[in-house]
Amino acid sequence: MEVVQQTLIESSWHSQLEKLTMEPSIILLFISPLFPDKEEVLTYLTKKFPKASITGCSTAGEISNVSVTDRTISFTAIKFNKITHKKVAVPLNKIENSFKSGVNLGNKLLHKDLKHILLFSDGLNVNGADLISGLKSVINSTSVTGGLAADGPDFKKTFVVNNNKLQEKTIVGIGLYGDSLKVGFGSKGGWDSFGIERLVTKSEKNILFELDHTPALDVYKSYLGDKAKDLPSSGLLFPLSMRTTINKEPIVRTILSVDEKNKSLTFAGNIPKGAYVRLMKANVDRLINGAETSAEIANKSNNYTPALAILISCVGRRLVLKQLVEEEIESVRDVLGSETKITGFYSYGEIAPFGEFSACELHNQTMTITTLTEEV
């Protein structure tokens, strides 16, 4: 397996790509919505590498090696020797069809040699939890990692890369086939819940209307204070820790959008009525520790150096880490060692297995790491 990883910048992307001599199987592009020549880059790449599957998505920050940048493209070319792959894209016309699209995608990729799926989805027009449920209903125990596309801190428009097209309302999946593939993954947050536990008294799928009979938006605004005017992005500062039963481990849900008229909040995953939620907070050190733990989990069963690590971290973490954001990437680098190529992006939601018993779940506010290696 051969990997070339670099940051493409506005002024020099053309010359950077010209120098590339390998014949990649897959090209991953994590593109800033602010990068001006997006289409040109795609046109160039499809022309130069007609056999390569080109995919990726829009970001809230691009990760290359140990740097986090904006207005760039994190470019990764991968060449497999024995591993085969298949790229499929399925449309997602209505948010209500998220489950169906998941089923559809799973069916297209399913094969007895299927080892892993990399998944990138529109970040706003999707019910991530439903999408995952649909996919899981088909692929059983095959692991899936990936993320929801982002739009900086703006929550307006996201896209996925499907060869030479930038597409909204689309899900792209890459199935990786063959025994020589080695995959590692880890997904940890580092957030803590605080304050009283609140009962979800009114909700509909991933839209939360009331907590303890009080409009959910009011609760959020009271905690955001001055930052309320920056909603929905400032809502990322208060993810929810949610448990549906007393004994279940809580999962984290983060805000995607707000509705002033209904005083409701839309989350990246479902918030069922009757669930208990608590607000969460974070500090820099705990988030960095979280990223490190995630890398340790992804690396734990590997007695080899991974060739590539794809880091998908939540935009909410970036808002907290600010100028220190690279520290969480460095903590991952320290665990993986200097040989591994690192790419990734800041997302609106992460996808990875949850513990040992579930092929994949939608996460929020985590650093989710996927390592890929081809056995020689």
């Binding site: 304050g195 009283i196 905690y223 500062l237």
Partner: protein, 581 residues
């Protein structure tokens, strides 16, 4: 610097530096911009955290107020409930001191709650109530978590109260006692009703015993006389009537015995004997009792001993024959062709124990599956018996089942409608080795040779005397009759008798007293005169009392002539010839 708004801290720091190189150089501008942005952002973070703190505090304060209100409300509600509850709720510390008593305590004991708090429970169980202390202590010592008992308590107003105490001990995580909680409930009324019922039940039992005795006396005569008439020469056409008379009388006796037995089972007043008896002998008796009746109905009667079965066993032969008799009577009653009988086999044995299986079978009308459960119920009979001309009281099977249950066995029925029936049960007996076998092991012989026994009959009932005299005459015995115990004592002291047949209930002096008096006589021969109690009372108590008074054997009326003959025969004097001496 590019930023329009320079953070106040940075502004001050720059003013202090007052260095053109720092403020104006291009390289420094980028750095200062980042520092400025970080200052602003940290300010926002601090505001953010302060806001979180403030909001959280507000919410927690509100939640705390709500909780307090809820606690107050719950307490008020609890107090209301406790005040209006009829029983007493209490809490004890680990040393048994009351730390809480609900207001009902005063009504129950007449004592004030305030004065009773901090006092140990035992301090209330003094004087007349001291005897109940042990009960409570036992309640504390039991390892069970929840316990209950009823105390008899005489309160301040000298009223007797029955108090049900329920207690639950509480332990900390380490298993150490931290006291108890519980209730006192006034169950005086309930207890009094219970006592009344118990007394009524006792009266009922006594009445039943008395009735049985009184009914058995005339029945005794009836059966005896029928037996006598059958033994004397009679016309062939009279035989059927005489047999019917005898059968009816016996049947009536069975019914009375059944009701009595059931009464005993209900009162849990049944003791099982542990006496040695011969199984072979018992089976022979069944053969004699049933073979004739079976042949009369043109059906076959069989006793099948399967494999090796012990002969001499220790157990209750009377109950066993009662059960088998009952089952055989039923078999006979419901079978019109084919056969009835008993299978006996040994299920298992150890060196001195043996489990014997008895199966009473018939080829009669059988019992439908849905009827099988019902037939064991009190006063229930098989559906088909409705048309029977001679129905029983419906107690037979129920008694058999209860008698077996009390001996740790069960009565099983295997049957289908029209396919006959098998009633099966297993009983455990202690076995003896055959060299210890008693004389009863032999097949009984009915050989009424003349009795050389000199007999004193003590009996007040003229009819009984008449029946008994007739038998004794028939057997060629010498006998005298007296009417009460006093006369009997006189007669024994004045004459020599080989045996005394003693009724127990008599005017002037009863049989118990007379027996005691005879047993105290100075003459050793008279003192040891064999006394056979002959009574219509069938209860164990009467039997035990009679044996305590000093009787040697015990026969119930109506007596079985054969049995009486054998006993009398045993007491026949033996005259040894000189050359033997």
């Amino acid at each position: 610097m590019r930023s329009k708004e320079i953070h106040r801290l940075l502004k001050r720091q720059l003013a202090k530096t007052n260095d053109e190189k720092v403020t104006c150089s291009d390289s420094a501008t980028g750095l200062l911009d980042q520092v400025n942005e970080a200052y602003h952002s940290f300010d926002k973070d601090i505001l953010h955290l302060e806001n979180i703190l403030e909001q959280s505090s507000k919410e927690l304060f509100k939640a705390n107020q709500a909780l307090k209100q809820e606690v107050d409300f719950s307490l008020t509600r609890l107090e209301y409930i406790v005040k209006n509850i009829k029983g007493v709720l209490f809490q004890l510390d680990k040393d048994g001191r009351f730390i809480y008593l609900s207001p009902a305590w005063k009504d129950l004991t007449g004592l004030s709650v305030l004065k009773s708090l901090n006092a140990k429970y035992s301090s209330f169980l003094v004087g007349d109530n001291e005897s109940e202390k042990k009960k409570i202590e036992r309640l504390f010592n039991l390892k069970k978590k929840n316990k209950q008992t009823v105390l008899k308590f005489i309160n301040q107003n000298e009223e007797i109260k029955y108090i049900e105490v329920s207690i639950a001990h509480r332990y900390d995580d380490g298993g150490k006692s931290i006291g108890s909680i519980g209730t006192f409930t006034d169950v005086t009324k309930l207890k009094e009703t219970q006592l009344k019922l118990k007394r009524a039940n006792k009266a009922k039992n006594e009445f039943m015993a008395k009735m049985s005795h009184d009914m058995r006396t005339p029945l005794n005569s009836l059966i005896g006389l029928s037996n006598l008439l059958l033994m004397e020469p009679h016309l062939k056409e009279q035989e059927e009537s005489l047999n019917a008379l005898l059968f009816s009388a016996k049947h009536l006796l069975d019914l009375i015995d059944g009701i009595l037995d059931f009464n005993k089972i209900e009162a849990k007043n049944i003791n099982f004997e542990k006496k040695e008896f011969s199984l072979n002998y018992l089976l022979e008796i069944f053969r004699r009792n049933f073979q004739f009746q079976a042949h009369e109905k043109n059906i076959d009667f069989q006793i099948n001993k399967i494999g090796v079965i012990p002969n001499m066993v220790i157990g209750d032969s009377i109950r066993l024959s009662q059960i088998i008799n009952n089952l055989l009577s039923n078999a006979l009653k419901f079978t019109n062709q084919g056969k009835i009988g008993i299978n006996v086999s040994q299920v298992s044995s150890t060196h001195n124990k043996s489990i014997i299986r008895f199966q009473v079978f018939d080829t009669g009308i059988g019992i439908a599956k849905e009827e099988q459960r019902k037939i064991f119920k009190k006063f229930k009979q098989g559906a088909s018996s409705k048309t029977d001309l001679n129905p029983g009281a419906g107690l037979g099977l129920s008694i058999c089942k209860e008698l077996l249950k009390l001996q740790g066995s069960t009565l099983k029925v295997i049957s289908e409608l029209g396919e006959g029936a098998v009633f099966q049960f297993d009983l455990e007996y202690t076995t003896r080795h055959s060299h210890l076998a008693s004389k009863k092991a032999e097949t009984p012989q009915v050989d009424y040779s003349n009795l050389k026994t000199n007999i004193l009959v003590v009996e007040d009932n003229k009819l009984n005397v008449f029946v008994l005299s007739n038998f004794l005459k028939k057997w060629g015995a010498n006998f005298e009759v007296v009417e009460n115990g006093l006369e009997a004592v006189k007669e024994v002291s004045n004459n020599n008798y080989d045996v005394v047949l003693m009724d127990l209930e008599m005017p002037v002096m009863n049989g118990y007293q007379a027996t005691k008096k005879i047993r105290l006589m100075s003459d050793i021969d008279k003192r040891e005169t064999p006394i056979i109690a002959l009574t219509a009372s069938a209860s164990n108590k009467v039997k035990n009392d009679a044996i305590k008074a000093g009787v040697d054997e015990f026969l119930t009326k109506p007596f079985n002539p054969e049995e009486l003959y054998h006993i009398l025969k045993q007491h026949e004097p033996v005259y040894f010839s000189k050359d033997i001496i």
